[in-house]
């Protein structure tokens, strides 16, 4: 406990003047991509450059929920893969990621919502993801804390139950992947800000940083909510993204009481009990783009009202901490993963909105294959930037809760 401080992922590496690939952003998508580049693609001369510290952004601010019950056939397999990777990575990284697959319950508050859930369940089952419907009586048996009485603002008609989902310790994932990547030779440079992406004749040549110039034939921007701004500022490529602040909070710790991740689109809130006993809860997104990551009293009030209706045991429990992060929303609620277009060697992975955490490992694996081979893997093909121009927006907006600043 009193030993000298040393990062878990080893000594601070020297910033080389050239790398095979530079990844801008030190979050989970970046670390996962670097890890799989080194481990599976044989490319270990890789630098991850991060302006602040790894896990500063969405990686450390999300509410740690993982699930694979999305809406469309392009998205579900990607999240399924990510969900299946957690136990494997726990072993592979030799790091306890504290995966707790307690299951997710999505509350439905109308018959129309039950029908929408029915379609969601069909998609999940088609892809081999366990998901089924519960009526209020079954729901009460599964999760007795939920208020199924008809005298609340939005009475519960049933729920979509997704048993393989759950929560995982997000910081552990950051540290585990950083440790794994560093062990395979990846250089993680914190407090190193990218100031320019260098190109020559339509090809990537390197990155200018606050600690000097790095030459590299491949650059990936995978900086969460900051990606769209970086890509536009440095390369003049505009993206169909709006960056919104999203808030979350935790209550004081309680004895084990809530056994599932419970979410409600109608009440616009979700909650789960962490292993420490706190009820982690969130959902509110500012309805206008901003980079403030500031919290509001407006939302504490909303959350208290919503939770005391559908989880009445929380009445009188105090909120302990409240924070916010960035969500980069796309018009179709699906991410943008693309590369070599229009600049050879330039890759992007962004637009994840508020679901970047649950997908980070599978995405990192595919992005690593994309960057190493230069060819887009089948799984990522539907997520190209050109889909907006071609009017091929994804149907993920039909997911249970949808918001962008445009609606």
């Amino acid at each position: 406990m009193f030993q000298r401080f040393r990062p878990l992922w080893g000594k601070r590496p020297h910033l080389n003047s050239s790398y095979d690939a530079v990844i801008i952003g030190g979050g989970l998508h970046s670390l996962a991509t670097a890890y799989f580049l080194a481990k599976e693609q044989g490319m270990s001369n890789v630098a991850v450059i991060e302006q602040r510290f790894i896990g500063f952004g969405g990686a450390g601010r999300n509410t740690a929920i993982v699930r694979a019950n999305q809406r469309t056939q392009e998205n579900v397999p990607l999240y399924k893969e990510a969900l299946e990777l957690w136990p494997i990575l726990t072993k592979e990284l030799d790091y306890n990621l504290m995966f707790n697959n307690c299951g997710n319950l999505n509350l439905m508050h109308s018959e129309a919502a039950m029908n929408a859930a029915r379609m969601n369940v069909c998609t999940a089952q088609f892809h081999g993801v366990e998901s089924h419907l519960l009526d209020p009586k079954q729901l009460k048996e599964v999760e007795p804390t939920i208020n199924t009485s008809p005298d609340i603002t939005y009475p519960v008609h049933g729920a979509m139950f997704h048993p393989p989902g759950g929560v995982i310790r997000h910081d552990a994932v950051v540290w585990g992947l950083a440790k794994g990547a560093a062990r395979h030779g990846v250089h993680i440079h914190q407090q190193t800000e990218a100031t320019a992406i260098l190109t020559d004749g339509g090809k990537i040549t390197g990155v200018e940083t606050t600690r000097g110039r790095i030459s590299a034939p491949r650059v990936l921007v995978s900086a969460g909510g900051y990606s769209a701004g970086i890509i536009n500022r440095m390369l003049g490529i505009k993206l169909p993204i709006s960056v919104l602040t999203i808030q979350a909070m935790v209550t004081q710790p309680l004895k084990p009481v809530l056994n599932h991740v419970v979410s409600s689109g109608m009440y616009h809130a979700y909650a789960n009990q962490t292993l420490k006993g706190e009820i982690a809860t969130g959902a509110h997104m500012d309805p206008w783009p901003n980079y403030t990551t500031l919290t509001t009293a407006h939302y504490i009030k909303h959350q208290a009202e919503a939770l005391s209706e559908f989880l009445p045991f929380l009445r009188g429990v105090k909120f302990m901490r409240h924070w916010a992060g960035l969500a980069d929303m796309t018009p179709d609620m699906a991410p943008i993963m693309d590369g070599n277009d229009p600049i050879e060697g330039f890759y992007m992975n962004c637009g994840w909105g508020y679901f970047g955490f649950k997908s980070c490992t599978a995405t990192g694996r595919h992005m690593a294959a994309f960057m190493a081979k230069g060819e887009c893997p089948e799984r990522l093909k539907p997520f190209g930037l050109k889909r907006y121009e071609n009017h091929r927006l994804m149907g993920e907006t039909a997911a249970l809760v949808t918001y962008t600043p445009d609606n």
Binding site: A228, G229, N232, P240, P287, T292, L294, H298, N390
Partner: protein
């Protein structure tokens, strides 16, 4: 974060009364010679500026007027005009 917006009709009001209408992208492109690319740029693409941007708002729960303001997206404060870069 809390936001106050100056409506040209009603004056300074709470931001939650307003609907954000997107970044200002200039006039709607001409139908003549319109390509999917130019339409997509107009309809979807954003600059995502971390700083001052010109943007549209509608006083939805108020007088209903549409107008533009300049706002710093890093502070959520309305500013008088575009950032001066010398």
């Amino acid at each position: 974060m809390a936001l106050t917006i100056s409506c040209p009709v009603c004056g300074k009001r709470n931001g939650y009364e307003f609907r954000y209408g997107g970044e200002d992208k200039g006039p709607r492109p001409d139908e003549k010679g319109l390509t999917p690319r130019t339409w997509c740029d107009y309809a979807h693409m954003n600059a995502c500026v971390a700083g001052v941007q010109k943007e549209w708002w509608c006083h939805k729960n108020g007088c209903g007027v549409w107008f533009t303001i300049h706002r710093n997206t890093l502070t959520n404060l309305e500013v008088d005009g575009p950032e001066v870069t010398s």
